[in-house]
């Protein structure tokens, strides 16, 4: 092909389709609807063995002995491993504190802790062999709450702690403590005309992603291992796995396999090390797939919390001060507890202007199930309590709850309790206005004109328990604030490799990152960013693996911001390189090569005036441009350990909800009939996915409001309901319509002005539902989830 770009060839370039701001469809959509998408539990390898994990049947005990001989003698069994079989001195792992044993040694600290792993030729053989392992336990008293954790005779969950928090915690059974003191809350309280206080309880929620923990480890000829696994952060896994195996990181090659949801529950390791150990021991590929029962033990949960709050306000509705104490139960191992404490404390005042605060948040070590990351991460628990307080204050002042919130709503420039100024739009009052302005759904929708009630629309639904006699309606509001990205001085970065080349006469771009696509749609957005920056239609997303630099975690609403930012950065660098090549090759054909601002669009090099200078095909010919770049957001600092002051967060995101519920007061059953939401997303890169994320997050908040809770026996610390039969999740019958209003107020510090989306809708959804139930029933309701007995007084 000849050289284009000579003046005679100039024509109007076609705009590239599928860039940012458009609702392009998921690149993995077709595979997912045809059943071809390979999730981690679908991995298969010739000659593959199945792994199974034996877990403790008790929450706190010394292990006297473990006898594996009978299990090992079972036909079809290839290996049975315990703590003694670990190949190196590194026997623990952990996200921040390495306190979690790969396999229990000496002690078990929570119900369901892994004690041994088995590999066999059939999953049932592995299960039956595991059942033959004999363990002698000597039971210890269980630590289950603050009193038993920090009381005078409390046993230590971890003896000989030497992590970096031990110096500033008041008791070794406290993982981390963060106070925040600003102004003088006691002085300010004197100005208050009304003061309200409350004690709130937040239950233990499970991420309940549908795709079970699973993966396949394949031993390699070089003594290393290839691991295909569903995770949220490949490089964080790698950093924890390699030392336990005694392998250098480049001998543990990790590839992301299909992830069936995550919501924080895949931040910690589950089966990764176990599968690798079994594969290396047997020399055969080993697959582990948790069943649902195991899954409840195999990942950390959302911290249950006890919260005490005091707020004051003047007659005209201005908040005077806030005091709070938040006690999070971290369970047996630290996981993300320190960071959850940082979030819970720094966001404990909510999206309100309060100058005088006295805050303390702690996380406990107990023998309850370990808790860590889950969507909303510490901010969810606080939001539940401070929003209940707002309603109490409004009621006491005889004000409209929305108006009261609007009077106190923070805005751009407001200082948070940490002293950090919010330096991007904070449309808190506007979000509340939007949800309030929506028309309410018609009353008694279940009673179609003159006919009998459609029981499906009533509390109790299909079970046909009522015909609507005792049904009352209530409306409630809530709003929340969530930080975006990793905070407190964490060196948060992401890496992307972008390649452009000509394939079959077409310019094609490839994006290679280690970002975990867990369903959120990051892969869709990466393709959109590259189309926008490089003007090509064809974008291939390379599988995520550890052959490219870290992308950080798919959590904290950070991936579009961070890896999206890295992809944008790398694409821009590729564009510069391509233009450089173009100038060198074709620069003499048109003066605009030297003088104009040049873009790539529709597979061509164009001037900002739309004049086409060249075809990318002719610029690149058989050359490929391939660049890998890292990207960081602006730095943050750690909160001061005594005062909590410091610019600890990168960005904030805001959402507001209005819930409309109907409650059958005789049966204690609740039906949420509408859950309207308004959220500021900065810039909607993909409006369809944005709405999907907001609706999904909203329904997880509904779940914790009315049904979801892992119930731990307070006497034995054993989990009572580790199944989908007993841990209730919202079904399509339990969920209402979720109308969404999206604001796009750009954050000038973020790529394209975007704001992290995924978590904020989970915050305010729960308190809005609670507020609506209180409004319907007149009950106080200080715990979540609300159960029938709380509504009927039984």
């Amino acid at each position: 092909m000849g050289v284009t770009g000579s003046p005679t060839n100039i024509q109007q370039g076609s705009k590239t389709k599928g860039g940012i701001g458009e609702s392009t469809l998921r690149p993995d959509g077709t595979l997912k609807v045809t059943g071809e998408f390979a999730y981690s539990s679908d991995m298969w390898h010739e000659d593959m063995l199945w792994g199974f994990t034996l877990r403790s049947t008790t929450a706190h005990a010394e292990i006297r002995s473990i006898d594996t001989s009978e299990a090992l003698a079972t036909s079809g069994v290839y290996a049975v491993l315990t703590y003694d079989d670990l190949p190196t001195d590194v026997k623990n792992y952990g996200l921040e504190i390495q306190d979690t044993p790969v396999l229990a040694h000496g002690k078990v600290r929570h119900h369901g802790e892994p004690v041994a792993v088995v590999a066999a030729d059939h999953p049932e053989t592995a299960r039956r062999a595991a059942a033959k392992i004999k363990i002698e336990y000597v039971e210890l008293p269980v630590i289950t709450d603050e009193a038993s954790a920090t009381g005078p005779d409390a046993l230590l969950v971890h003896e000989g702690r030497d992590d970096h928090h031990i110096g500033h915690v008041p008791h070794p059974n406290i993982v981390h403590r963060q106070p925040i003191i600003r102004g003088n809350a006691d002085e300010a309280a004197k100005r208050a005309d009304v003061i309200v206080s409350g004690d709130y309880t937040f239950g233990m929620q499970d991420q309940a992603f549908l795709g079970p923990e699973s993966g396949l480890a394949v031993p390699a000829e070089d003594g290393g291992v290839d691991l295909y696994v569903a995770t949220q952060w490949l490089h964080s896994d790698l950093r924890q796995i390699a030392p336990v195996l005694g392998l250098p990181e480049d001998k543990v090659r990790m590839t992301l396999s299909g992830v069936g949801g995550a919501f924080g529950g895949r931040e910690d390791l589950s089966m990764q090390i176990h599968a690798c150990l079994l594969a290396l021991r047997t020399g055969k590929p080993v697959k582990i797939v948790y069943n649902r029962f195991e899954s409840f033990f195999g990942h950390v949960h959302r911290h249950p919390a006890k919260l005490h709050y005091e707020h004051g306000a003047t007659k005209d509705g201005k908040l005077t001060h806030m005091k709070c104490r938040i006690v999070l139960d971290g369970g047996a191992y630290a996981s993300a507890s320190p960071a959850v404490v940082g979030n819970a404390s720094s966001l404990s005042a909510g999206p309100y202007v309060i100058e005088d605060v006295d805050i303390e948040a702690i996380a406990l070590y107990t023998n309850n199930p370990p808790c860590g990351a889950m969507r909303g991460f510490g901010a969810v628990q606080a939001c539940f309590a401070y929003e209940a307080q707002m309603d109490k204050l409004a009621a006491k002042l005889d004000m409209d709850p929305v108006e009261f919130r609007q009077i106190n709503a923070m805005e751009q420039g407001t200082l948070l309790p940490t002293g950090q100024a919010c330096d991007s739009p904070a449309p808190v009052a506007e979000l509340l206005r939007l949800v309030k302005a929506r028309p309410l759904p018609p009353e008694q929708q279940w009673l179609a004109a003159g006919e009998a009630a459609d029981v499906r629309a009533l509390p109790g639904g299909l079970s046909n328990t009522t015909h609507g006699e005792g049904v009352v309606r209530g409306v409630g509001y809530a709003v929340g604030i969530k930080n975006v990205g990793f905070s407190e001085g964490f060196d948060d970065y992401s890496t992307a490799r972008v390649r452009m080349e000509i394939i079959n006469g077409e310019p094609v771009a490839t994006v290679h990152t280690a970002m975990a696509e867990v369903g959120q749609g990051g892969v869709t957005v990466h393709a959109q960013i590259v189309r926008t920056e490089l003007g090509v239609n064809q974008v291939t997303i390379h599988p995520a693996d550890t052959r490219v630099g870290s992308a950080g975690s798919t959590s904290a609403s950070r991936q579009t911001y961070m890896t999206g930012g890295a992809v944008k950065n790398a694409a821009e660098a590729v564009r510069e390189k391509v233009l450089e090549i173009g100038r060198a090759k074709l620069g003499t054909y048109h003066p605009a090569w030297a003088t104009a601002e040049l873009l790539l669009e529709g597979g061509k090099v164009v001037t900002d005036g739309g004049e086409i200078l060249a075809d990318l095909v002719d610029v690149l010919e058989d050359e490929a441009v391939d660049l890998e770049l890292e990207w960081r957001h602006r730095p943050t600092v750690a909160f001061d350990l005594k005062t909590g002051q410091g610019d600890g967060h990168v960005q904030y995101s805001f959402a507001a909800h209005r819930a409309v519920v109907e409650v059958d007061t005789e049966l204690g059953l609740v039906k949420v009939i509408e859950l309207a939401v308004a959220q500021d997303v900065g810039k909607a890169l993909n409006p369809l996915s944005v709405v999907g994320q907001i609706q999904g997050g909203t329904i997880q908040g509904l779940g914790i409001a009315v049904m979801e809770e892992i119930i731990v026996d307070p006497k034995t610390a054993k989990v009572r309901n580790p199944s989908f039969t007993d841990y209730l999740l919202p079904t399509i019958l339990d969920t209402p319509t979720v109308p969404v209003d999206v604001l796009e107020l750009a954050d000038e510090h973020a790529p394209y002005g975007l704001r992290g989306i995924g978590e904020a809708p989970t915050l305010s959804s729960t308190p809005a539902v609670l507020a609506a139930i209180r409004n319907a029933t007149g009950l106080e309701l200080d715990r979540t989830p609300v159960r029938p007995e709380h509504l009927t007084g039984v």
């Binding site: 298969w44 992830v259 949801g261 069943n291 459609d454 997303i541 999907g692 999904g696 989908f724 999740l729």
Partner: protein, 197 residues
């Protein structure tokens, strides 16, 4: 034991099946058809929904032996099933043997990385296309089961009300989407069906 049954229009046989193995296990691990998902294996989530002689069932609750001599349609066969819906024996639309996954192919099946492109070449059933278009797929783990259940709903009721859709899909959990877009997808597929009639 040996189990003989028809999967997506193809006669299949599975050997050395343990008494306790579920239909789901046999489909996923022996037939190489992992499209039906294993989210709870206790009949609570619907991710494993397949049609057994036309009736949607949780494959995790069906003992493999119970499928003997019967016809199973999984998400992998959904597009083809929809195409041949009006045949005398839906589910045997591939009697000619031109579609479905053969046992050899099934045994050779390996998970493959996605290349990030849509498989435009595949012909999808209306409900599959609607799920993509409506944004009803996020992680997608619930999707195969929902598709099989929704397809059956539309077969029975070509213009379901929202309450009908909610009732029909109440046995299928989705943790990601909040269900609104799943409703949209079913409405969209119903509307498109109406247009073509």
């Amino acid at each position: 034991m040996r189990v003989n049954f028809t999967v997506n229009g193809r006669p299949q046989e599975a050997d050395d099946v343990w008494e306790g193995e579920s239909l789901l296990y046999v489909l996923r691990e022996r037939m190489g058809l992992p499209g039906s998902k294993n989210a709870c294996e206790q009949g609570e989530c619907g991710s494993c929904t397949v049609r057994l002689d036309g009736v949607p069932v949780c494959a995790c609750l069906v003992a493999a032996g119970q499928a003997e001599g019967r016809e199973v349609v999984t998400v992998e066969g959904l597009a083809d099933y929809a195409k041949h819906r009006d045949d005398a024996h839906p589910g045997t639309g591939c009697a000619a043997g031109s579609c479905g996954t053969g046992l050899d192919a099934a045994k050779r099946w390996q998970s493959k990385p996605t290349d990030g492109r849509t498989g435009e070449a595949d012909e999808l059933s209306p409900i599959q296309q609607a799920f993509i278009d409506a944004g009803a797929v996020q992680c997608g783990f619930c999707t195969p089961g929902l598709l099989v259940a929704a397809d059956e709903l539309l077969e029975q009721n070509s213009s379901p009300s929202d309450a009908d859709i909610r009732e029909a899909l109440s046995g299928n959990l989705c943790r990601c989407t909040g269900y609104e877009k799943i409703l949209d997808a079913v409405r969209l597929a119903a509307a498109r069906q109406e247009e073509t009639v």
